[in-house]
Amino acid sequence: MLFLVGGWRENLPYLSIENVVASYKDDIPVLAGVGFSIEKGEIVSLIGPSGSGKSTLLRVLVGLTKPKSGRVVIDGVPIGYANKKVLREARDRFAIVFQQYNLFQNMTALRNVTVAPLKVKKRNPREVEKEAIALLEKVGLGDKLHAYPDELSGGQQQRVAIARALALKPDILLLDEITSALDPERINEVLDTIRILAKEGITMLIISHEMAFVREVSSKVVFMDEGKIVEIGRPEEILDHPKTTRARDFMAKILRH
């Protein structure tokens, strides 16, 4: 009996998004019923034209935008976004890296990474600092610990943002088009960092336009358009042999340049 229950639990997806509806100004729905699931250690990429609701979905997951209806379930437990306490716990499990890095301008790189574990989680300062330095070294910024955001390039700032997200040891890492605001030369340094994380088995939900990268790291690709999921499948399926017309049109436009 217990074995059965245990086995049943193992089959539950780690993160399950169920029929989420969200909108910014009451009448225009940005997400019109979105649902898919992510297993532990999976890397799922969200692709689609701009305005399709990809960023909104991430914002819903992390509690920045309230969903009108639908459920988000982590490890079998649904997240109640209206409840402040539950929201805080949910935010503990996600970490998000924004397109515009959103580093705290008044803090050095090191401080940006240590402030949340120190001030919010109230952990031991020496431990936190050691971990932060290790993280910044991992993303290749060991020599920029005391630099302020306005002294760093876009790619460097983005990597600090990644280190900051990882400092809280999230269960799921959300990446919202993290290379879109970067100069072409800088994109690879960020993607390399993600490649390292991918190898370590961190569960990730990535929004990206870098199709080659998507193909390389993802275990699953979700194509969205106009607030709905149009196709889900393995990278080779979606990127090379899209089944729906919309997906095909999109891939044709992307691959043209």
């Binding site: 920045l64 996600f94 924004f98 008044n106 803090m107």
Partner: protein, 228 residues
């Protein structure tokens, strides 16, 4: 007329009169400075009350908005009269200096609250969001992220307000506070020529205000260069 003016000058600039004027000047500076310091503290809290969000904070928000708008939209003289007569009616036996001090602090809070609010709102909303998703409380967001960035936008306008406030305190003369303007009236009533008296008062205000104005401009330039 000019001859009589010249003749008056030694009679006017006696030791006693100069001390009188300097004391009055000190009161003017005192009223403005203390008013602005207290106004800054209260204005700061009023601004934070204003930016709080959520339904439970609505009464504080409304209080802040009403308080600030009241003292910004009523002339100094009317506020002064209101405070004066309310104190009188409530049987609080405050000196005129105290009454003007209260008035000055109330008005300064209103104006500085708006400056602080503008400073807080000047910080990009993405900074709020980044702090949000890292689970900062409102206090932590303000203390660690928002206020440190809002400072630069707040300091210069507050100083500039202080500057203009020195001129506003002239109206405290109307309830008898012996500040610079009132001292002018006293000396004028004593019989000294108005041109001499008020000319001197104007020059004294100028001597107080202009160097501070230059300092303010220097400060602004320094701020524009350094950032941290």
């Amino acid at each position: 007329m000019w001859a009589s003016l010249l003749e008056e000058i030694p009679r006017f600039f006696t030791y006693y009169n100069l001390i009188f004027l300097l004391q009055a000047g000190a009161r003017t500076i005192g009223l403005s400075a203390i008013g602005c310091i207290i106004g800054f503290v209260t204005g700061f809290f009023l601004a934070i009350m204003r930016v709080s969000r959520g339904r439970s904070f609505l009464p504080i928000r409304l209080f802040s908005i009403n308080f600030v708008e009241f003292f910004r939209r009523v002339p100094f003289l009317v506020t002064l009269m209101l405070v004066f007569f309310i104190c009188q009616a409530a049987n609080l036996q405050f000196s005129v200096f105290t009454v003007s001090m209260i008035t000055v602090c109330l008005i300064a809070s209103g104006f500085i609250a708006e400056i602080v609010r503008a400073g807080i709102e000047s910080v990009n909303v993405t900074q709020w969001e980044a702090a949000d998703v890292l689970n900062f409380t409102l206090a932590e967001k303000l203390r660690l992220v928002i206020i440190p960035q809002a400072w630069k936008v707040i300091l210069a306008p507050v100083f500039s307000f202080f500057l203009s406030f020195i001129k506003d305190t002239a109206l405290a003369s109307q309830i008898g506070v012996i500040e610079l303007t009132y001292s002018g009236k006293v000396l004028n009533n004593k019989g000294f020529s108005a041109i001499l008296v008020f000319g001197t008062i104007l020059i004294m205000y100028f001597i107080i205000s202009y160097p501070l104005a230059l300092f303010g401009r220097w400060m602004e330039r320094k701020f524009a260069i350094s950032k941290h």
